[in-house]
Amino acid sequence: MPAPRSAPRPLRDIAVVAFAQTDHRRTSDELSEVEMLMPVLHRVLAQTGLRTSDIGFTCSGSTDYLAGRAFSFTMALDGVGAWPPISESHVEMDGAWALYEAWTKLLTGDVDTALVYAYGKSSPGSVRDVLTRQLDPYYVAPLWPDSVALAALQAQALIDAGDTDEPALAAVATRSRASATGNSHAQLRGSVPRGEHAVRPLRTGDCPPIGDGAAAVILAAGERARELCERPAWIRGIDHRIEAHGLGVRDLTDSPSARLAAERAGAFERPVDTAELHAPFTSQEVVLRKALRLGEGVDVNPSGGALAANPIMAAGLIRIGEAAARIGRGDSDRALAHATSGPCLQQNLVAVLEGDPR
């Protein structure tokens, strides 16, 4: 019997009902992580009128390597108000994966609401070097290839394949930062020079800004979502897939994991009007547009995307939040949100969000 072509409908209707984020800045050294995060938690709760004690499940995404501060996520939990003990979990991943865990928890029917948050302070360290520590420790990490270098290898492969060229990459950067002029939280807005080559073929303008920031989302199921939000952004499907860790094993000009995640999330069943892509480097948008089959009619990264603000560990969750907020405002009816992790788009998450018919 042939497999059904469409993705299965989730067991429960679950929606993003609130989203908040910090202004993303190059440095926030006057604030600890919890001090940076707390106002965002308060804002997202205020949007729904919920209090911590009303939340069924809390899940966060962060990494101690960024700020070099051990167990920082336990300190961040102070900002939630975790006493008496709450049902809580943490992933050492972008907050988009924390949202995935919260979504599965809601699917079980045990809880009706979830708080998801993520934060990253890149300013205390050197993020290009920090990210080398996620690589294969036997064959790759001892060479210390930094995140820009690996993205540049992918960009050159795309240029060699005829998929893009330096002017086309510059156009991605220009469009993203022009879109970000409408986003008061963005770190890089408006006219940003292409700059010198950082690691050729990538110029500084092809790279994301380095900065600190946090974001939070509230999920709710069924009628609870309608009570908390005028126009919930229903998660019609969400899936994540990963590719081999060996860079030389992969076709860097393609993203089969993003395509499969999108298929499993039902992204190809009907066109989307908006896509929020987590593409920290201009060249990665080229890969994702192809893998996710985004046509010219799709509004890609109206927020400016990760090229305008890339708080590591939060930037993927922000894509889901931005897509949901756009649905909430009535600017979108069906949006795709994407998050990535690992070098050269190794791991990808895709969510499809929809608003109720108007």
């Binding site: 050294d29 006057e30 102070d78 036997y138 990490a141 290898l153 050159q156 492969a157 010198e196 030389g248």
Partner: protein, 314 residues
Amino acid sequence: MPEVLKAPLVVEFPFTRSLGPVQSAFLTGLRERVVLGVRTVDGRTLVPPVEYDPVTSEELSELVEVAGTGTVTTWAWNHESRRGQPLDRPFAWVLVRLDGADTGLLHALDAPGGPDSVHTGMRVRVRWAGERSGAITDIACFEPHDDGIAELTGSDGRFENPVTGIVAPARLDYTYSPGRAQSAYIHALAERRVVGERCPSCRKVYVPPRGACPTCGVATSERVEVGPRGTVTTYCIVNIKAKNLDIEVPYVYAHIALDGADLALHGRIGGIPYDQVRMGLRVEPVWSDGGGHPDHYRPTGEPDADYETYKELL
């Protein structure tokens, strides 16, 4: 607003990692100037070789030698070498498909001709490191090469004294800043004062303050000086001498509730034999020169505190 405190922080660790049989053969081979791949069930040769097939997850074991020459499949010009990278001058990062392999190996290409001398499809060969230990860095880098395919050594992948592990040093440098609440706490310590923060909701005073009340989830902002005297709420006797610490064992490490604080902090107890320390003992700080936390706490001579006064702070 007081000055933002900052201090250098180095996180350094020598990771000791054991190797699987395929990784061991590959890295031992590099020590012997031999490059090995591993054959997958569908007949592809993976270099660098892995223990499990990245597509089917089958365990792999068939080692095959490949040449020390190959072709660049993609590259990126590194204008400025960073710490730990294979070369200390500008170089190209490359993925190289060695002759006989079906996948790419990541490494550096030494290209004295600069970025305009590098292109995808160019031929390169391994430049071996002078001293080799069984590590990926036994390949010093690649270099341009126009003379065809290097001959194989005929290795069967078995070597004397195979390497079974690697030590991979990792170091990351940070500039640490403690944030608003802890900066104020540290500034006060420099004046030999202990300053906590009160929760506006539950009124508890946290020392040291972390900026948020973990019960209420709100910012603490009202500064409250506590102590200097306090009560030992609980303690332990330390019999293990810490490295680089000039304190004789046994000594007592205690939780101390400073007067006015709703959270005990911890410190060493001195000025009293270790076996006479008890719950309820009243103590005061002994400050050391140069700021920072008290060196230790010593008995005040007051009568012991009543259990009822500190039972909530245990």
